[in-house]
Amino acid sequence: MKGNIIKYARDNIDTDVIIPGEYLKVHDYTELATHAMEGLDPDFHSKVKEGDFILSGKNFGCGSSREHAPIALSHSGIKAILALSFARIFYRNSVDGAFLLPIEIDQDAYDGISEGDEIDIDVSKNEIKNITKNQTYKMKPFSEIIGKIIAAGGLFKYKPDQD
């Protein structure tokens, strides 16, 4: 999975800046997407391209349980979030609705990847390749459980393995 990085070099990006409360009344996902990240980066909508990734620090998606947050990012074209760590509800919401991949990275990847870099994520090898800088980093593997929900294509498609 290839794409370019939009980097927010900070911790604690919360769901209120990902999609401010006033838009939780919006049911049309295309319209919702036009307000993604509005609380933090009003230019996000004009710069994001289909297939882009967001890179950020610790505790990404903290705060509210609003699934509107991964939905707004996903409908903006974001395919994965690379972060040092995630808040749990955002993490599960991303996976449950198969909206985007929440990928935990280490400090090397966080420091090494810059705004605009083209990267290639290979989930099967738990590897992130920085094509722009010709560097490779490890991603933290999904837990077995989360990996299965992702592989199934979301919560409703998931079934436990049969014995």
Binding site: N59, S64, A87, R88, I89, N93, G97
Partner: protein, 471 residues
């Protein structure tokens, strides 16, 4: 080896358990509100599914309802549509709804306990992160997203990864319980463990500092577990818990025999161990005021705002976060908290809008007036809280002091209805999140207890309520 309270509740709710798979957990109560449910009901319709247990599902409208005169039509058309949609969904799927005109309407986490819907030892979910509130009754209460809401509606179960256990122990007895409140305890805990300190865990709050608290206060503590990153927070039920729930509208008929069964089981065994532990002495806690843009950015009322260097302890992102927060909040490090002037006061939210919160705040303002240039409002957590408060004459105390006295709802906690801050306005708020723009685009939020908010309203700036005569 013994088990923790959380482990006991978890194990008694497992429907399917397999190695390296999530556990399928049975859900005893599902609370629904207007904002995180519409897509879930759409999903049911699309797949021709019914609500599996409408009798265990309860709905109310709280997030975007107006808190002004309820006899008037809702002016915001998108809010009106969302509210109407919940009405239609509840009708179509046979779900009990406390609508905008119901005497039981209110913030979902305030009405659950008040109606006896929240029970010890049960599993409770709601499409809202502050569902952790119900943990005050020894319930395992989880905030979930809309996909999970749909899954629970369809199956009354959820696939969940078992969280780890986290003991937060508050030792000691408060010397000044009217000034150092449950809000100060939980803000102090979050300040210490950090906003991600509880990630992947369920916190059990223990110790004399917790068992001494009333149920209203325990709810304030458990409510903000999510702000420390935890999946849920809980307190073992005791006599206070059992007495609180007795005789409420939806308390089960066989309540006394349930209490007998809970008494021995619903506690952490003496030889149980936790994955993580944090201990705090209650006498080290002062009234807290948040200065930044997450609940971990908090300090004591008699402290200056820390420098980003001191706050970050050498962490680059933390430092940058603190610098950005100070810029957003238009504050400088070194400023004494008591010197910060405010424009607005909001007493409300699922954190601090229960009857005891309003009683405590009213004592501060009785016979006084809100400072000139400050506008202040009280939004009771539920219509029942509002009615009880009015029966005690609290509405008159607030109105005489020039507070607004509103109808129940989430209101200015999250800025979905017309109750919002204007850009640049600074608010002393009893809510739970001081994120950028949370209370309105450009608004600046300081999280405080109800007594601290009330005292700030009267004085126009923060004051140390320990200096006031509160007895």
């Amino acid at each position: 080896m013994g088990k923790t309270l959380f482990e006991k509740i978890w194990e008694s709710h497992i429907v399917v358990e397999k190695q390296n798979e999530p556990d399928l957990i049975y859900i005893d109560r599902h609370l629904v509100h207007e904002v995180t449910s519409p897509q879930a009901f759409d999903g049911l319709r699309m797949n021709n599914r019914k609500v599996r247990r409408p009798d265990l599902t309860i709905a109310t409208m709280d997030h975007n309802v107006p808190t002004s005169d309820r006899s008037l039509p809702i002016l915001d058309q998108t809010s009106a549509v969302q509210i109407k949609t919940l009405e239609n969904n509840c009708k179509d799927f046979g779900i009990k709804l406390f609508d905008i005109n119901s005497p039981n309407q209110g913030i979902v986490h305030v009405i659950g306990p008040q109606l006896g819907i929240t029970l010890p030892g049960s599993t409770i979910v709601c499409g809202d992160s502050h569902t952790s509130t119900h943990g005050a009754f020894g319930a395992l209460a989880l905030g979930i997203g809309t996909s999970e809401v749909e899954h629970v509606l369809a199956s009354q179960t959820l696939w969940l990864e078992k969280p780890k256990t986290f003991e937060v122990r508050v030792e000691g007895k408060r010397k000044n319980p009217h000034a150092v409140t449950a809000k100060d305890i939980i803000l102090s805990i979050i300040k210490n463990i950090g906003t991600a300190g509880g990630t992947g865990t369920v916190i059990e709050y223990r110790g004399e500092g917790i068992s001494d608290l009333s149920m209203d206060q325990r709810m304030t503590i458990c409510n903000m577990s999510i702000e420390g990153g935890a999946r849920a927070g809980l307190v073992a039920p005791d006599q206070k818990t059992f007495d609180y729930l007795r005789g409420r509208e939806y308390t089960p008929k066989n309540y006394e025999s349930l209490v007998d069964s809970w008494r021995d089981i619903l506690k952490t065994d003496s030889d149980a161990t936790f994955d993580k532990q944090f201990i705090l002495d209650i006498n080290d806690i002062a009234p807290q005021v948040s200065w930044g843009t997450n609940p971990g950015m908090t300090c004591d009322i008699d402290e200056p705002i820390p420098s980003p260097d001191k706050f970050s302890n050498g962490d680059v992102n933390q430092k940058k976060g603190a610098e950005k927060a100070l810029e957003y909040m238009a504050l400088e490090s070194g400023t004494m908290i008591e010197d910060i002037k405010i424009d607005r006061v909001f007493i409300g939210s699922c954190t601090n809008a229960r009857l005891e919160d309003l009683i405590e705040a009213s004592k501060i303002i009785q016979g006084q007036k809100v400072a000139p240039n400050v506008s202040a409002m009280v939004v009771p957590g539920s219509q029942m809280v509002k009615k009880q408060a009015e029966e005690m004459g609290l509405d008159k105390i607030f109105l005489d002091a020039n507070f607004e006295w509103r109808e129940a709802g989430c209101s200015m906690c999250l800025g979905m209805n017309p109750d919002i801050l204007s850009p640049g306005e600074r608010c002393a708020s009893t809510s739970n999140r001081n994120f950028e723009g949370r209370q309105g685009n450009g608004g600046r939020t300081h999280l405080v207890s109800p007594v601290m908010a009330a005292a700030a309203a009267i004085n126009g700036h923060f004051v140390d309520v320990r200096k006031l005569d509160l007895n």
